[in-house]
Amino acid sequence: MKKKYTFYMNEKGQLILTLVLVMTVALAIGLSVVQKSLVDVSTSTKVEQSSRAFSAAEAGVEKALRGDSSGVNFLENKSQAAVLDSGLLPVVAAANKRQDPLEYPPLTKEDVAQIWLADPDSNIRLPGCTAIDPSKHAPVCYTQNSLEVYWGNSRADRAAIELTLVFYNGTQYVPRKWYFDHPETRTPPNSNFNQTLPNCNDSGFTVGQSNYKCKVILGDATDPAGVLPSGLMLIRARLLYNSNDQPLAIWAVGTTEANRSLPPQARNIVSTGVSGETQRRVRLFQLSKVVPPYFDYAIFSAGDIIK
């Protein structure tokens, strides 16, 4: 027994130690290679599913634009899309109810939003807003002498706004412009903008689905331009100075009747494509009859257009 004991005492155990070290290193390398390749395959599969889901979502939008909001289902490549179509907004509300505001998706700096105040339907004769064929379509034109405008979602990234109202003055269509800014001073000072009429504060105004930091009532008693004229046609709004996209909303004043509502004009289509576990969403905000962006520069320029 004594001899055996000595025999084991002479073993230093270096071989085992080296073996364990080699095994650990080999295990680490091997596992990392296997893991990386598995992650690669999983990622590329997810990305492929994402492409399929996106294509399906686009297909859903295409179908909705053709008037069918039932979504699509491509059985062959296992992708489908569900579509949520808001219909024309804002809806003319029931009697004695206020109409919902018309909310624009966030606008980039100097992007123009257009809001119809007269019905853009081709069955309507302007000015006066009468139906060409009364059996086809009841006209909806805004005839109130004030209108609420909300904009901006940040008090740090302050967006100013330029509003252009187009109306019929009895002989021709003419514009009326407003320029509003937050009350804080800018460098250099923004003296041409009205900074007293808009109400901008940190808590903002929750209107519809969003919170807006500034509110102004066009045609309000304190509006230097006076009440809104008759023969309203459309308003074009442009955000200025903002670094990030910011939302805009227009809200008809008063309880609803056809002449106190904004005409239904915009459509929100949200199509959600699904493939495997991946979802992609495409949102489309469609406006009926938008004049091109050069409208503001060309039609109302002081002089003739020189090519």
């Binding site: 027994m1 001899k3 055996k4 025999f7 085992i16 073996l19 095994m23 080999a26 295990l27 091997g30 290679v33 296997v34 990386k36 390749s37 598995l38 690669d40 395959v41 990622t43 590329s44 599969t45 990305v47 492929e48 492409s51 399929r52 294509s55 399906a56 686009e58 297909a59 939008v61 295409e62 179908k63 634009l65 053709r66 008037g67 069918d68 039932s70 699509v72 289902n73 491509f74 062959e76 490549n77 992708s79 489309l284």
Partner: protein
């Protein structure tokens, strides 16, 4: 007691485990390398298919003629035995129930992963007066 020769059971077990472990590890490396090339090919095929779909979407609806054409993207030669087709057809009544003016676009990219056939199929609809139209 007589001096013991040979290996103890623990030593034997250790050696067998180590050798077995190394063999499994070595055997999985080619498989992992194969997975690398597989994921690379899937990504490339997806890129090609997406590009083709975008190209179709940029066409005017009236220029979308029914029929099948081969994909001409130069990157397709980077895929092993790579090929691809674009199929334009009228949207079937099963999908477009209202009989809309809509084309059903199917982009297929095929390639081989070893001896196994692989493909990516992207499908969408393009309608008259739709996106980009």
């Amino acid at each position: 007691m007589r001096r013991q020769r040979g290996f103890s059971l623990v030593e034997l077990l250790l050696v067998v485990t180590t050798v077995g472990f190394l063999v499994i590890l070595l055997a999985s490396v080619p498989n992992a390398l194969n997975l690398f090339s597989k994921s690379k090919n899937i990504s490339l095929a997806r890129e090609i298919a997406t590009k083709q779909l975008e190209d179709q979407r940029s066409l005017n609806y009236l220029n979308l003629a029914n029929g099948q054409t081969d994909i001409t993207d130069s990157r397709i030669s980077l895929l092993p035995s790579g090929s691809g087709t674009i199929l334009v057809e009228d949207c079937s009544s099963a999908i477009c129930t209202n009989g809309e003016n809509t084309k059903h676009i199917t982009v297929t990219v095929n390639w081989k992963n070893g001896s196994k056939n692989q493909n990516i199929v992207l499908k969408t609809l393009i309608s008259e007066g739709g996106i980009n139209q």
